[in-house]
């Protein structure tokens, strides 16, 4: 019974996706209920499983040999330890809230069945990544996540922007996955196994087993995370992916899909050596800073959240890079809660304003949409790292780890924290407070209960997740022996200040600085005054540092160059030299030989005699 539970958790969403696609597509209500039922069932079963089996790693991994080619044995199995079980809870828990919310948000959409089928397929793929016990299985589900995100981002495929965005997301991800696959092959060729448990034991026995390939393998595997978790320089797909329905943004671009990259890095943390980790840390730090700077000057409510997600993902990757995977996972967990809630809150606002996304057309929503406002505010406080909300603790752990490893990254982290609170409170001040800036904002009203309930449900972990001891579970997973934490919540609240006062105070200072700057600039503001002060800089930020333009030019030029080279090769070498050359040579010979065929008897005779004379000379003459 206990052994079958994880399989049931994994396959319930797939079952719902299949049933919806094959049988109940006509019945939108039933399809939605099936999908919601599947994920809530998975969530309930996950909790049941943890209640039965606890957090201890399950020694016996259930195995089915899926593929055996020569030495390569690919199993289909589940890995159950604190890391994957917590992730299981996040994916199914946050996923449940989002599924229920979607029922309200997508209710008017004609293709709701297709939407829920894709959502279920996505959940299945994500659970597959979480539970995978070997690289190949993870890679398969990794690609499945890519496919289902493609389906969901491009859900409104009749819109050109959405169609472009889903293509962009898929292709950018493929780029990273290519490196990931090569990295997997490197690991396999060096160690001969793809199972995480075997690899971990091998590397524990002999840390140099990968030899000179270690850094390359680590970085190539990181390429996969770079694509999925949208790290610089492959970050461009995530903001565009906001073209999908808002609950999709919440599910795959805040809580789960982008978390897959960080989760994978933590899962294979034992593979990464110091140089690879240094690169990972810097990439994460750069991503965090770039995205935070861009977010400061965005006006689309979803885009602000998208860049904020990017920035927080940068934080997590940086945490992995500073040898603190448990801090990364901790932040991933808390971030999943409050970012999903923020996205759902943004969706609620967008829904109420009839698909208005520009924050400068909002305002004064506090009194009209109280539940949305208060949950959104809680999410903002958590994201900005206000104690005692969950984000404060997880961010503090990252800053502490960074301060131990790399002073520059620590400073970067503090700067990003300041920017985070600045742009989030800018959003709050402009969109929810101050005067109503458009007629639509004046007539807004609170969303239906099916949409506000998930918000409230997500608000609970947003506020309290810092006190649940999640960090201890992760710490145990990564073998970090932490001193026993004080038991009372009051001590827990002040523990960061005793433990590492520098990081905690710096984080708090950054928060206050960002908040006061936002208060100063955007309280009751009706337009953005920042561009007047920092003209060029803000324009660059608004245009997202011109990454898209740069990539477009780069790709277009490269493609043109390659096309020109191929064209020249075809025109001159193949058509010119080979085909025309062969044809020309034969023609030339033909013409030359034709000259000899005069038809004149006497010429023939002469040539004949000359030939005989030559032969005779050759035979007798010497």
């Amino acid at each position: 019974m206990k052994e079958a539970l994880p399989w049931l958790i994994l396959f319930l969403p797939l079952l719902s996706a299949v049933v919806i696609t094959l049988f109940t597509k006509k019945d939108r209500e039933l399809s939605a209920k099936l999908s919601i039922g599947a994920i809530v069932g998975s969530f309930a079963l996950s909790m049941l499983f943890i209640a039965l089996a606890g957090w201890e790693p399950i020694k016996q991994e259930s195995l089915v040999t899926w593929l055996g080619v020569g030495e390569l044995q690919v199993d289909f199995g589940l890995r159950l330890d604190a890391l994957s079980l917590l992730m299981l809870l996040i994916v199914t828990g946050v996923g449940s809230a989002i599924h229920i919310y979607s029922y309200g948000y997508m209710h008017e959409d004609r293709s709701m069945s297709r939407y829920f089928a894709s959502l279920s397929l996505f959940t299945f793929s994500m659970l597959g990544i979480v539970l995978a016990n070997n690289f190949i299985q993870m890679f398969i589900f990794w690609e499945l996540v890519g496919v289902s995100s493609y389906l969901l981002i491009g859900f409104w495929h009749e819109r050109p922007a959405a169609a472009d965005a889903c293509k962009k997301a898929f292709l950018t991800n493929r780029l990273g996955d290519f490196g990931f696959l090569i990295g997997i092959l490197l690991v396999w060729s060096a160690l001969g196994s793809l199972k995480f448990s075997v690899l971990e034991i091998e590397l524990a026995k002999n840390p140099d087993a990968l030899g000179t390939l270690a850094t390359a393998a680590g970085l190539l595997i990181f390429c996969g995370a770079m694509g999925k978790s949208a790290q610089f320089p492959l970050h461009v797909w995530l903001p565009d992916a906001m073209e999908g329905p808002t609950p999709v943004s919440a599910l795959i671009h805040a809580a789960t899909m982008v978390a897959a990259g960080v989760y994978m890095l933590c899962r294979v943390f034992f593979l990464l050596n110091a140089p690879a980790l240094a690169v990972i840390g810097w990439i994460g730090g750069i991503t965090a800073l770039l995205a935070a700077l861009i977010a400061v000057q965005q006006n689309d409510i979803k885009r602000i959240l998208a860049y904020s997600t990017l920035s927080q993902l940068g934080y997590m990757v940086m945490a992995v890079g500073v040898h603190a995977p448990s801090a990364a996972m901790y932040h991933l967990t808390t971030h999943a809660f409050f970012k999903a809630m923020l996205f759902l809150g943004a969706g609620s606002v967008i829904h109420a304003l009839h698909h208005e996304q520009n924050i400068w057309n909002m305002g004064a929503l506090k009194s009209k949409m109280p539940i949305t406002f208060w949950t959104f505010l809680l999410g903002t406080l958590a994201l900005s790292g206000v104690p005692p909300f969950s984000g404060f603790f997880s961010k503090d752990e990252i800053l502490v780890a960074a301060s131990h490893q790399n002073g520059v990254l620590f400073a970067l982290g503090v700067l990003v924290a300041a920017l985070t609170s600045f742009y989030m409170f800018r959003l709050i001040f402009v969109a929810f407070l101050g005067p109503a800036k458009s007629p639509a904002a004046g007539h807004a009203h609170e969303s239906p209960r099916v949409m506000t309930l998930p918000l409230v449900a997500l608000a609970v972990p947003t506020v309290l997740a810092g006190f649940w001891g999640i960090e201890n579970l992760y710490g145990k997973q990564f073998g970090l022996v932490e001193e026993a934490h004080p038991s009372s919540w009051f001590n827990h609240l002040f523990e960061p200040f005793n433990h590492a006062p520098l990081a905690a105070l710096a984080g708090l200072g950054a928060l206050v600085f960002g908040l006061s700057a936002a208060w100063h600039l955007y309280r009751n503001a009706t337009r953005d005054r920042l561009p007047e002060t920092f003209g060029v800089l803000t324009r660059v930020m608004q245009n997202r540092f011109y990454f898209d333009e740069f990539y477009a030019t780069l790709i277009a030029n490269t493609q043109d160059l390659a096309a020109k080279a191929a064209d020249a090769f075809d025109r001159w070498i193949i058509a010119g030299l080979l085909i025309k050359g062969a044809h020309g040579t034969i023609e030339l010979f033909g013409r030359a030989l034709r000259l000899m065929q005069t038809g004149n008897l006497q010429t023939y005779t002469f040539l004949f005699v000359a030939g005989v004379a030559l032969v005779l000379f050759y035979v007798f003459g010497r």
């Binding site: 065929q597 005069t598 038809g599 004149n600 006497q602 005699v609």
Partner: protein, 101 residues
């Protein structure tokens, strides 16, 4: 002066070359034909000379054959030339280039 095999062979070669020159250089078919006969007879002369100096009659037998065949050949060849002339109203070799594609 003693006349030896070399002298006969020399005459034979001369005759052959004259005949060859006639075949290559002359334009009229009849003359070419005569030159061809000259070449045959140059060969005949060489055969007879060898036969005489080697005391072997095989060469002379061969010459008889050649003369016979040449007579038949002349009959056929002349008939062809007459037929050609009747058809084309010419016996000049430059006009006969039907072998050219």
């Amino acid at each position: 002066m003693h006349v030896g095999l070399e002298h006969y062979l020399l005459v034979s070669a001369l005759l052959f070359c004259i005949g060859l020159l006639g075949v290559i250089a002359r334009r009229n078919l009849l003359i070419i034909y005569m030159s061809l006969e000259l070449m045959l007879n140059a060969a005949n002369l060489a055969f007879v000379a060898f036969s005489r100096f080697n005391n072997n009659l095989n060469g002379q037998v061969m010459v008889f054959f050649i003369i016979t065949v040449a007579a038949a050949e002349v009959a056929v060849g002349l008939a062809l030339i007459v037929a050609l002339y009747r058809r084309r109203q010419t016996a000049h070799v430059e006009d006969l280039t039907t072998m050219k594609l």
